[in-house]
């Protein structure tokens, strides 16, 4: 047997600088969007006031960022693409007070190591500039050339020498939407800069320097209208500013939420939650408010060096910031005449805490029989036969079995055919429909059940059946973002089959003329955006299959928890559910019905 140590030592070779760079690149250059981010940060750090971006082929063929910033001299140009060559951090002390955006230094060299790169730069008052060409991290050419002040960095054939990474890239449209997301973050954070963004030869954005409010309108053309409210609150040296959207702008996904700390886009869950809590009950469950918020704070109090992609931040005094954000949002809503402490959705028995907007637990005395020893109406607890605590817990375990086998199905079908009369139907907590069957109680999840019904209907419609649609008196014109427009065009015909009569009305405009009859509350064209969001959440950026689209439609059009149903509506829901092919689960596979049988009840009451 060989000595293991010697085997190992023979196989270890020193990595070359080049390979080392490529590995490091993996950390920073995850996908085309990360390249774009680095290049833009570079331009911003050079104090540019005009930034033009060109991308092609989802960023794989080309990402070019052109700025009018301070430019680089010949030596700097070379240095910029060397690992850890950065003009920004000269001593360790500097790290404590980072004011610029890109400080890690390795970014440009990392990019250079995995692409073909061309950088042209010229400094102000310089007679000429320089052009550097590199491929896979190696300098190919460096010439003197005439160039306007500023820097143009063009990254082509990204990952040409790292096929493994290339394989992990998503489709062009997915990468395109990542690129756009990165662009949007910067465009929002720097409204004072003139931006342009061209993708595959098409003008996507041309943004003049403008106020933040105008920038918002330009970026999210989707009916922001007068539905955004300014936030401005300063406390203890921390300034929260920006805009929040009216509750009705809230979406099913987090897509339209932007948080910046010292103008740097960041992710920070607690702060996202602070915003949400500021809205209180104004926002429905599982909807996400629109916001673009800026936090200005002493850089000493923030740690941005948490992750190489620099999107996570840590605050020294998180709780305080949380508080200011929460108050800022609440104040903005109040100024807009909306009271986040008012709860519109609680049932009459529930009470709302006037300061926090939270639903308070019901006072104990309203749940228990009123007891008053003086009057003699007490309910003494059984001393001898006290219910053992264990038994009590068992009795409340949700053990009811899911109706899946054929027998159950038949008995339920009979029930819906009227062979067994549904004597009692009622709604529980505006969420579940409870009905009595021959030998059991059936509990139906109203959303999942309706989802199943709509899913099968939608599938039939998509396969040629078509749905009835209620014509609208006033066609609704919808403006959508460029990435949504791409997806929407792909599903246009299918949406028509689903009863959503929608047509193109310009580059990013669409007109809705009819909506599925009886599917949703009147005139709610949010369904279109909801479907797009659902598809995007599932990672679908281009033409989805019929099943996927039907599932997205069903999910977003189905009645929600919290919707109260009339008796005929509940009966119709049950009838329709059992008329479906697979009544027992929703398209996502969750159960639609739970059954609590008589036998089960008897067992639990200790009768058998």
């Amino acid at each position: 047997m060989e000595n293991p140590t010697s085997t190992l030592s023979r196989k270890i070779n020193l990595l070359s600088e080049e390979v080392y760079n490529r590995i490091a690149a993996g950390e920073v250059v995850e996908r085309p969007a990360s390249v774009l981010k680095e290049l833009i940060e570079n331009a911003l750090d050079a104090a540019a006031t005009e930034i033009d971006i060109t991308v092609a082929g989802g960023g794989q063929s080309e990402i070019t960022v052109n700025d009018n910033g301070s430019g680089m001299a010949k030596a700097d140009l070379l240095l910029a693409f060397e690992r850890h060559a950065t003009s920004k951090v000269t001593s360790v002390n500097d790290l404590a007070a980072i004011h610029t955006l890109g400080f890690r230094g390795e970014a440009l060299s990392a990019i250079a190591s995995v692409a073909r790169l061309e950088a042209t730069s010229s400094m102000q008052e310089a007679l000429s500039g320089h052009r550097l060409k590199m491929a896979g991290g190696k300098v190919i050419d460096l010439i003197e050339t005439g160039a306007p002040t500023g820097t143009t960095i063009s990254v082509k054939e990204l990952f040409f020498n790292t096929p493994a990474r290339k394989k992990f890239l998503k489709s062009r449209s997915v990468e395109n939407s990542h690129l756009l997301t990165v662009f949007k973050r910067f465009a929002l954070s720097y409204p004072d800069i003139r931006w342009s963004y061209v993708s595959d030869g098409k003008d996507v954005y041309r943004l003049p320097p403008e106020t933040l409010e105008n920038r918002l309108q330009a970026i999210f053309s989707e009916e922001l209208g007068n539905l955004i409210f300014p936030v401005q609150l300063e406390d203890d040296g921390i300034l929260v500013s920006g805009f929040i959207g009216a509750p009705k702008l809230a979406r099913k996904s987090r897509g339209d939420q932007f948080l910046f700390v010292n103008r740097r886009w960041v992710q920070n869950r607690p702060l996202g939650f602070a915003v949400l809590s500021g809205f209180g009950p104004l926002i429905e469950d599982r909807r996400f408010p629109f916001y673009v918020l800026f936090i200005d704070i002493d850089p000493e109090l923030v740690d941005v060096n948490v992750h190489p992609s620099k999107s996570e931040v840590k605050f020294r005094n998180e709780h305080e910031i949380y508080n200011i954000v929460h108050r800022g949002v609440r104040q903005a809503l109040q100024k807009a005449g909306m009271d986040a402490t008012r709860n519109y959705a609680v049932s009459p028995e529930e009470k709302v805490d006037p300061t926090t907007g939270e639903i308070l637990p019901r006072p104990l005395d309203s749940r228990l029989p009123h007891t008053s020893p003086q009057q003699g109406f007490t309910f003494p607890l059984p001393q001898q036969n006290k219910m053992p605590l264990e038994g009590y817990q068992i009795a409340f375990q949700p053990e009811a079995k899911q109706a899946t086998d054929v027998q159950d199905a038949d008995s339920l079908r009979q029930a819906s055919n009227g062979e067994i009369e549904r004597t009692q139907v009622y709604q529980f907590h505006q969420r579940y429909v409870v009905t009595e069957l021959k030998n059991s109680i059936a509990i139906i999840d109203q959303h999942a059940a309706h989802e199943r019904i709509l899913y099968e209907k939608a599938l039939r419609a998509l396969n040629g059946g078509k749905m009835h649609s209620q014509q609208l008196l006033f066609p609704r014109i919808m403006e959508v973002s460029p990435d949504r427009a791409v997806l929407l065009r792909d599903v246009l015909e299918d949406l028509q089959a689903l009863g959503i009569d929608i047509k193109e009305f310009g580059e990013r405009s669409f007109v809705v003329e009819a909506l599925p009859a009886g599917v949703k509350e009147s005139g709610d064209d949010r369904i279109v955006l909801d479907i797009l969001d659902e598809l995007r959440e599932k990672g679908i950026a281009r033409k989805p299959g019929h099943e996927k689209l039907a599932a997205a439609f069903a999910c977003r059009a189905a009645i929600k928890f919290g919707k109260s149903l009339s008796l005929p509506e509940m009966n119709s829901l049950i009838d329709q559910l059992f008329a479906t092919q697979y009544p027992f689960s929703c398209p996502h596979g969750r159960p639609t019905i739970l059954q609590l049988t008589l036998g089960e009840l008897e067992r639990r009451f200790g009768r058998s």
């Binding site: 014509q471 006033f474 009859a517």
Partner: protein, 370 residues
């Protein structure tokens, strides 16, 4: 504050304004009625923050003052004191001390300075209505007002005064009512406002007991005054859609029928409609007029021939039964007609005989049949 008053007028006054008191609000002072005594006039105000109801009653005043008093217990007590002579006084700690010949009752009140005050001045633009006329306008239009908070401009009734007409328009995007009336002789300038449905409902309740109503309009505020009640309300902000553009001018196919039997048939057939989309189909040909509904999910179906005259191309057109029935119900009696274009365009329903000086029109968008 101290005064004497008989139970009946006091209760009536309280009841008039308490309709607006919200049942649940975090602004707890809104649970109160604001009572203010000046000389022999007691002014009662209640509000939900958006709408103010104000009424005055004559009392035997002894000492001026004002207080906030919770509406519910006051009204409950007054109901149980029929025929009583009441003496009311506010204690220094803002308690309401009510005494009758035999009883003493204490209701803790609050300092009145917290209460929001209704804008005092009335807008200049004034139009006078008889209560009956206004009631009729509201009865025929408000049912079509939208409840969709996503489109605020549709959640009220558009009142549009021109040189010589008053147009009242309501729509929820699926149907529309337009009622044009000759302007009352005593009419103000041209103006338009959207009045919230809630305000109109509060007004409707009080019109029963009134003879005439003065309406004061400003672009941000509307005030209705009857003999004994003033309603001040904010208006709905937003732009009402260009409704005239969607009213078809040239619908060539004409259906006319007696409203009562037609409605009865639709109501019967609608039992068989799909409970979710409520789709009923009207099949029209010069030979036969047929109403039908079918719910493939349950296998139920029904159809019925109805009397009427149809002049036009054969056409099958689908409607939401609820919209159709509500439109029919708000037509004046007798005969009505529907002018139709295609199976996907708006049908125009009008009464065969318009009331004098009135032009009533309802639009119904069909459900597209597949």
């Amino acid at each position: 504050m101290k005064f004497k008053v008989a139970q009946e007028p006091f209760l009536q006054g309280v009841a008039k304004v308490s309709g607006v008191v919200p049942s649940r609000t975090p602004l707890t002072f809104l649970y109160n009625i604001h009572a203010e005594l000046k000389g022999n006039t007691l002014t009662l105000t209640a509000s939900d923050g958006d709408v103010f109801l104000i009424t005055s009653i004559e009392v035997e005043g002894q000492k001026d003052g004002s207080v906030l008093v919770p509406a519910r217990p006051l009204q409950d007590l007054l109901k149980e004191l029929p025929g009583a002579e009441i003496e009311l006084e506010i204690s220094p700690e803002q308690h309401l001390l009510l005494s009758t010949a035999k009883g003493q009752f204490t209701i803790p009140g609050e300092d009145s300075s917290r209460y929001p005050s209704a804008p005092q001045e009335k807008p200049d633009n004034k139009i006078q209505f008889s209560a009956d006329d206004l009631k009729k306008i509201l009865d025929q239009t408000t049912f079509a007002v939208s409840h969709d908070e996503l489109r605020p401009a549709l959640t009220g009734l558009l009142l549009q005064f021109t040189e010589d007409e008053l147009r009242s328009v309501a729509t929820d995007g699926h149907r529309l009512v337009k009622l044009v009336k000759n302007k009352p002789a005593d009419g103000g300038e041209a103006i338009e406002v959207i009045v919230p449905l809630r305000t109109l409902n509060l007004l409707q309740r009080n019109l029963e007991y009134s003879k005439s109503v003065e309406v004061f309009l400003a672009t941000n505020r509307v005030v209705f005054t009857t003999e004994d009640l003033t309603i001040t309300s904010k208006v709905v902000e937003g732009k009402f859609p260009a409704y005239d553009a969607v009213i078809p001018k040239e619908n060539p196919n004409l259906l006319s029928f007696d409203i009562v039997p037609f409605m009865a048939a639709v109501r019967r057939v609608s039992i068989f409609a799909n409970q979710i989309n409520r789709l009923v189909v009207i099949s029209l040909s010069p030979e036969e007029i047929k109403v039908s509904a079918e719910d493939p999910d349950s296998g139920r179906k029904g159809q019925e021939s109805v009397e009427g005259i149809y002049d036009g191309d054969p056409i099958d057109i689908g409607y939401n039964a609820q919209y159709l029935l509500e439109a029919l119900r708000h037509m004046p009696g007798g005969k009505a007609q529907i002018k139709l274009g295609s199976a996907t365009s708006a049908g125009v329903m009008t009464p065969e005989k318009q009331d004098q000086g009135t032009d009533l029109l309802m639009l119904l968008m069909p459900i597209r049949l597949q």
